[in-house]
Symmetry: C2
Subunit: 313 residues, 2 copies
């Protein structure tokens, strides 16, 4: 094609991208933005000196800024990758330095509370697109990132009615460029869906690992030895970042407690079926739950290999 002027879809989603917070997600975005050529220049910042040093040593992005101001200076897009409880404070720091029309977006696992916190501090000349990539591993920190983290995962955008369509389209193009599928929904619905598919599972996993650790009648050494009976599957997500998850539960309280109440009702019924020896009820549930896994495997959200492909010998 001879035309010099690029089609909109051939333009880079962002010119100068600032990533604030260099953990698993921030570092993965930096690596993916480079691999998939999604921004002309990538600048990263983290409030921790040590994390900035580590990011520099890892060669993340084009530049590690040394202040909030420096990181967003001249940036047309800023992605906030910090625990959800810190998003408001970060926006307060960067607000005075945001350029006209800058797109501010985030990756928080909670949307309602983050939107509220960001709005309190965001200047009118910037545009906020709330986003949440449903992807991650149990590892944290700048060295945990990898560029394919978002491939074939979903990224949920929750722009408010009447939000900036151009900003939403560019954030969508950025996530699609990293290999993600993008879906739009309301912030409230997001917070309920994620309470089910992410927050409750983490709560339950943390809880069962804590219970096992506290028991006097069964030693920690026994729990570890015999964990292949099922327990070890729970320990992966119970090894996730404590600060991130503390903030999730504190900021999505209502939805989590609502879903937890449903879980508890069902668990009481199950306990009752066990106590009264109602084998048919148990069998019915245990058969039904197989279907959901099949759906997850069929849609490429899970490996089809037995035992997560752990088998090695």
């Amino acid at each position: 094609m001879a035309e010099a002027k690029a089609h909109p879809e051939e333009a880079l989603p962002f010119e100068r991208l600032a990533i604030i917070g260099i953990g698993l997600i921030g570092s993965s975005i930096a690596l993916a933005a480079r691999r998939f050529a999604l921004a002309r220049r990538v600048v990263l910042f983290d409030i921790s000196d040590e994390v900035r040093r580590e990011a520099r040593a890892l060669g993340l992005g084009d530049e590690i800024a040394s202040s909030f101001a420096e990181s967003v200076d001249g940036a047309d897009a800023v992605i906030i990758c910090v625990p959800v409880g810190a998003c408001g404070a970060v926006v307060a720091e960067i607000a005075p330095h945001l350029q006209q029309n800058a797109i501010v977006t985030d990756v928080g696992s909670v949307k309602g509370a983050v939107i509220k916190a960001v709005r309190e501090h965001l200047p009118a000349h910037a545009r906020f697109v709330p986003a949440h990539p449903v992807a991650g591993t149990e590892n944290s920190g700048p060295a945990a990132g990898f560029p394919s983290l978002f491939v074939n995962r979903w990224c949920i955008l929750t722009p408010p009615n009447g939000g900036d369509e151009d900003a939403t389209a560019r954030v969508r193009a950025f996530w699609e460029g990293m290999g993600a599928n993008v879906e739009l929904m309301s912030a409230d619905h997001h917070d309920l869906v994620l309470a089910v598919t992410s927050h409750l599972p983490h709560l339950i996993a943390y809880n069962i690992v804590g219970t096992a650790d506290d028991l006097q009648s069964v030693t920690q050494s026994e729990v570890i030895k015999f964990s292949a009976g099922g327990f070890r599957d729970f320990t992966r997500i119970a090894a996730s970042d404590p600060t991130m998850w503390r903030d999730v539960f504190l900021h999505n309280k209502e939805a989590v407690l609502e879903v937890l109440a449903r879980f508890n009702e069902d668990l009481s019924a199950l306990a009752r079926a066990i106590r009264w020896g109602e084998g048919d009820k148990l069998f019915e549930l245990f058969s039904r739950t197989r279907t959901i896994r099949r759906g997850i495997v069929n849609q490429g959200q899970e490996t089809a290999e037995p035992d997560f492909g752990r088998r090695k010998v």
Copy 2:
């Protein structure tokens, strides 16, 4: 070495081994017994015609018997690999055909109830060694087996005080020959330990998948799409064999309900901490649970790769 007479440790653990029940465990034992040369002859039997046909087509063992009587005829060892609720009935079937001094053993996930059921039917001239390999995958049936399933997994034996030492030693040698580590404990303690490391995790996983499936406000399609947030980890063990697990819960009722009560207490405290915004309590628990996973990885009971090594791109 010129001596014709083999040392005890060079002898095969079993001459003629009968495996009753050809599921994941039965087929894996047949494959492992061949690969590691642990029995002169391996005979398998299953009450299902279809399973026997499948096992024959897969070439499992040296022979697929066509009746209980035929399978144990001349066998010095019999391994019962059926759901724990069926163990008593199987022993009643084979009892009249067991040879003098035959070793009968099992693989049940519950020991107290199985020991009781087996004792009701076992003839005095046979020797019972209760056993439980803590290994498995979410797949079932004769095609699901593989010979390395037990490598570096634990097999727990729960012989009663004053049990037959020779029989216990031969069963131990058999499991060690398949690559397992063997530990001895009382049946009661086994049932409590496994309630923690296996039965409660399965119950919780089945329950959370059931709750997610039942919700009206979040569709099944949403649960599947956004399962990478944590939920999918639970679906693996919630895809396990429904008959096996129904029987486990019906036969280890007391220990499961006891451990579940502890889990519920802890979960109530956690819900309260969320409701009242007690971030420090959440952070303390979420930090502590990382240690257990580290122990499991360090002891080779889990892969160290993030996300179970699912990352593929």
